[in-house]
Amino acid sequence: MIKKTSDKATGDAEQAKGFSIPQTAPLIIFLLAMVIFFSVTSEYFLDIENFKNILVALAVTGIVCVPGTFLMIAGHVDLSVGSAAAVSGMLLAQTVNDRGIAVGLAACLVFGLVLGVINGFFVTIVGVNSLITTLGGLATLYGVALLAGNGQTVMMFGFEWLGTAQPFSIPLPILIFAGLAVIGIITLRRTSYGRSLYAIGANPNAARVVGIRSNRILFITFVLSSVSAALAGAVLASQLSAGDPNAAKGLELEVVTAIVLGGASLAGGRGTLLGTVLGLIVIQVLNNGLILLDIPSFWQRIAQGILLIAAVSFDQIRQKIVSQKG
């Protein structure tokens, strides 16, 4: 039996306090450093409107991150979300123009449900690895999104409010994301569904043997993931007043980066939504700062890729140090 002597904070402190301090401390320091740096180098950074921009930009990704974090905690991943959001946007634009907003939103919801059922079916019933299943989905659905508009953007008329309304002068996408995040946090911590996700991720075999209906739970989570992607696609289309097949390109990368930055383990069993939110903020502040500094947007992608690898490396190194102490 391995006896660890000094590592009591990593496991369930994170559960009790939302996220563990040793794990997220470097991220917070990095965030503060960025804030200070961008405040000094750009006069537009420290501004309430700019912060709103940052939050709006992260809201769309954030919506997908909520069930995305669920999946990662259970040891799975959904890479089809970016393309799913694109298809949803195209679908919305076309149906809103032809049949109105209600039908458009209903179509997005149905699309999300159907896609989730397909992903869930392949992962839990057929038994295909979730990475492969959803990678296939990513490719297929991107093709579908291009087909839907013949490769072109489809303009949408009369449905801007979902993406741009500002009740209480807070942009609606932020409210949607905040609401989902709160529900998500409670679900993870306080429902048997949420607790089961941790158990499945920590040890899928044991989860079965204690009588957790793992397949059912994973199935539901894949459906939630696809529905959230459909919703994100709708919000995005509403912001743009158009369905753009390339609008959500790379969303899956941003989602995974945020979740991993936030401390969820790729192997499952660990992670919190508050951590993911912190990860989202780090990514968006970085993107925003780079834009304000007039750095070409290609660099955002490069920075994000480096950030992802840095986050995972950091986690690996931390785990090695922890196990050496034992």
């Binding site: 039996m1 391995i2 006896k3 660890k4 590592d7 009591k8 990593t10 496991g11 369930d12 402190a13 559960q15 009790a16 409670i186 911590r189 306080r190 429902t191 048997s192 607790r195 089961s196 941790y198 158990a199 920590a202 040890n203 075999n205 044991a206 989860a207 079965r208 043997v209 204690v210 009588g211 957790i212 209906r213 069993g269 660990r270």
Partner: protein
């Protein structure tokens, strides 16, 4: 049949000051099969590891082929033709039979494998063993017994003179065992000397020319095949102290809780009928692979049932899924705690509450307070020591404490039938007695029926109200009261 192939004299071995071998001699002639018997910890593995050059002896001499060696390392042992065959397979299941036979030493030149030459040579070796397996078959598609023969074939490619087989039949069916013995006869006639480690007494008489018994690091008995006496062997293996354990007082109950009627599952076990009463602890004792654990797996829906029926409190029960079994009031504790039992990186409180989240929630919200309270209640009752209380990661606890948490998981769920597989594996001796007492007390207090599958006779003596002995998938005898003792158990199961 000369005695000159292997000669170990006065071998001592100590690990950090504790001597585990106290001057053991061992002789092996060419074309001879020596069966090495002994309970776990008797020193068999240490002795053969010394012969394989794995570990150096503290003192003593090793002679191979009449030459005394100053030292013997793994490389040298291989050069001398000493080969070990372990119980676990060490093959590459996705490669072909021929590739596996020459694993890592594929014939060819310049980094290119000469396939036709390899397959031809592989066929020669298999023919020599009189084994009929196609050389281009994928190893993973073969039966376990056939794969074991491949391991032997691989040893032969390097001209083995001495073959050490460490419990090779543990995972084999009786047909496969016969086949292995035929191969061993072949090797014998070719002059290979073999050391055969086993627990199964019936195999000894069939295969061995001589038997040597180790107990607590001493060689206590060496006899020729013609002089093998079963009782004498068992006594030699167990020694005197096996009789010391006092039996717990029996529980008198008569209301059946769990009933199996002629239950069967393919080749794992067949036609098993048994009854466990309320509040009673029944042990299924048998070697690993004899079907004990497999029966429990079937009841918890982890292994298909192919015949017979299960009754729980008079109700017919058909296993559907582990979740359904748990909902029916059945609990199951697997032998492999790390892989199937615990959620290593999660807290002890969570590991305990995992079966009871539904019970602990109001309007769908799990009460973390109840979770912590449940842990604290059981921690006190079962004396679980966890340094940082309910938040400690379970993997950081000792084996005994982990096992108590996993037991409490089912106690808290109020199961009516509890199935335990090897409940004290990897648990230190002190905590074992604790766990036995906990299981017995809990069974009595909550009228729970407990069925235990174990290969540890001492466990049966200390834990069981009643014992059922299994061998090769069948119940072979039932022991109650004071007739449950180590010698009877070992003798009946062999």
């Amino acid at each position: 049949m000369g005695k000159d192939l292997v000669q170990l004299r006065n071998i001592h071995k100590s690990y950090s000051g504790v001597e585990v071998l106290h001057g053991v001699d061992l002789d092996l002639g060419s074309g001879e099969v020596l069966a090495l018997l002994g309970e776990n910890g008797a020193g068999k593995s240490t002795l053969v590891k010394i012969l394989a050059g794995d570990i150096p002896p503290s003192s003593g001499t090793i002679s191979i082929d009449g030459t005394e060696l100053a030292r013997l390392d793994v490389y040298q042992a291989r050069q001398l033709g000493i080969r070990m065959i372990f119980q676990e397979l060490n093959d590459a299941p996705t490669l072909t039979v021929a590739e596996n036979i020459f694993l890592g030493q594929w014939p060819g030149s310049g980094g290119m494998v000469a396939w036709s030459e390899m397959e031809k040579k592989a066929k020669e070796i298999l023919d020599r063993l009189q084994v009929n397996i196609p050389v281009d078959a994928i190893a993973g598609s073969l039966r376990v017994g056939e794969r074991q023969l491949l391991e032997i074939a691989r040893a032969l490619t390097q001209n083995a003179k001495v073959l050490v087989l460490d419990e090779p039949t543990a995972a084999l069916s009786s047909v496969e065992v016969d086949r292995l013995f035929t191969v061993m006869d072949q090797l014998k006639s070719q002059g290979v000397g073999m050391i055969y480690i086993t627990h199964r007494l019936d195999e000894v008489a069939r295969v061995a020319d001589r038997v040597q018994v180790l107990r607590d690091g001493d060689s206590v008995l060496t006899v020729k095949n013609s002089e093998i006496d079963r009782t004498a062997l068992v006594t030699a293996m167990l020694g005197k102290e096996a009789e010391k354990n006092a039996r717990p007082s029996a529980v008198k109950t008569s209301k059946p809780a769990l009933k199996l009627n002629g239950l069967s599952s393919r080749n794992d076990y067949s036609n098993v009928s048994l009854t466990v009463n309320e509040g009673e602890v029944v042990c299924l004792f048998g070697k690993i692979g004899s079907g004990t654990a497999e029966i429990l797996e079937s009841i918890f829906s982890l292994r298909p049932v192919t015949g017979g029926s299960i009754e729980i409190f008079g109700e017919n029960f058909t296993p559907k899924s582990p979740a359904a079994s748990a909902e029916f009031g059945i609990g199951y504790l697997p032998a492999d705690r790390q892989r199937l039992g615990s959620f290593g990186i999660r807290s002890v409180a969570e590991n305990l509450a995992v079966t009871c989240w539904k019970k602990m929630s109001t309007l769908g919200f799990v009460s973390q307070l109840k979770e912590v309270q449940a842990f604290e209640r059981w921690a006190a009752a079962l004396r679980i020591s966890s340094r940082s209380g309910s938040t400690q990661e379970i993997a950081t606890l000792s084996g005994g404490n982990q096992q108590k948490v996993l037991l409490a998981r089912w106690f808290e769920a109020n199961v009516r039938v509890l199935l335990l597989v090897e409940p004290t594996r990897g648990v230190d001796v002190g905590a074992r007695r604790d766990i036995y007492e906990i299981i017995r007390r809990q069974a009595k207090e909550s009228n729970m029926a407990v069925l235990v599958a174990t290969s540890d006779y001492e466990e049966v003596v200390l834990l069981a109200d009643r014992a059922l002995v299994m061998a090769r998938g069948k119940i072979v005898s039932e022991l109650t009261g004071d007739s449950v003792d180590a010698k009877t158990l070992v003798s009946a199961s062999s």
